[in-house]
């Protein structure tokens, strides 16, 4: 007879003994009490979850504030850069000043024209 059959037969004394040794408590009240204990432990564990969340709330708020500040600085810098580029573009563009100077009528040159001529003379010699 194989081990399986010998140890697994319902009337086998060893199988019967094994089942008796490992039999769960029969009283219904035991199971109600065990259920109550399990649920009490779960209820105890729940506030721990909230306090864990609370523990992380402060660092999370600080991290969020740092992120908001960093984002603000980034946006400000980007805008400043754009403004700077716009100014530089305007300054780098050719101005009509020289043309204006040559096109200026002789009557308007006046003192300025004389001063320019004097300066040119001094620079040349």
């Amino acid at each position: 007879m194989s081990d399986y059959v010998r140890l697994h037969r319902e009337d086998d004394p060893v199988t019967r003994g094994l089942r008796e040794l490992h039999a769960p408590p029969a009283a219904e009240s035991y199971w109600s009490e065990l259920e109550a204990r399990i649920m009490a432990r779960i209820a105890e564990a729940e506030p721990a979850w909230w306090s864990e969340l609370g523990r992380w709330a402060r660092p999370a708020l600080v991290a969020a504030a740092v992120l908001v500040i960093a984002a603000g600085v980034l946006v400000f810098r980007t805008r400043e850069e754009a403004t700077q580029i716009a100014y530089e573009d305007v300054l780098a563009a050719p101005t009509p000043i020289s043309l204006e100077g040559t096109a200026r009528p002789a009557s308007l040159r006046g003192l300025h024209g004389e001063r320019e001529e004097t300066l040119r003379f001094l620079i040349t010699y």
Partner: protein, 184 residues
């Protein structure tokens, strides 16, 4: 009318989904449904009733915490019993560490439960101690709780073939240790 297994499975799925949404009443109903079997699984792994109780409580607590990771289309029992057996295995490991750290002053006398006064049960209890933890767990899970080799392998984190081989060796050892009783 007696509810069919399909009705039971649907009802269980409803309870699982409700528990996942935060209903403690639904989880309590799942505890009521599974605590006896869970006790059987834990009792197969640990040596005493008290440790089995502790493992069941630990296991249900772990299951509650991990509930959001459970997919309701899977069998809840198999998932739960794996958690319960892990809790029981953890308890056995902790007991071993504690026992190794504590040096006994004297050799402890074996506990005599009046309900276990009968000779066969005492001999059987002693014979079970001669098996390895895993062999004993596999034997009880299979022969007492009726789990398959595959289910046992999944619960104990071992291949199905190992569970089968452990069962064979456990039975051979028991047969050898209880030869005189078995020859009746």
């Amino acid at each position: 009318m007696v509810p069919s297994p399909a009705d039971d499975a649907a009802r269980e799925r409803e309870l699982v989904v409700a528990a996942q949404r935060g209903s403690t009443e639904a989880f309590a109903a799942l505890v009521r449904l599974h605590q006896r079997r869970a006790y059987g699984v834990a009792r197969a792994v640990v040596m005493t009733h008290e440790d089995a109780e502790d493992a069941v409580q630990d296991g249900f607590l772990h299951a509650y915490r991990a509930l959001d990771r459970f997919r309701p289309d899977q069998p809840f029992g198999a998932w739960l019993y794996r958690i319960i057996s892990n809790a029981a295995l953890d308890l056995v490991r902790r007991r071993k560490v504690r026992d190794a750290e504590q040096l006994p002053d004297s050799v402890p006398l074996p506990f005599r439960d009046p309900a276990e006064a009968d000779e066969l049960r005492n001999r059987l209890a002693e014979a079970l101690k001669a098996l390895t933890d895993r062999q004993r767990s596999v034997l009880v899970l299979h022969d007492v709780e009726g789990f398959t080799h595959g289910e046992i392998g999944s619960m104990l984190g071992i291949p199905e073939g190992t569970a089968r081989s452990d069962l064979h060796h456990a039975r051979a050892a028991l047969r050898h240790l209880l030869e005189d009783i078995r020859s009746d």
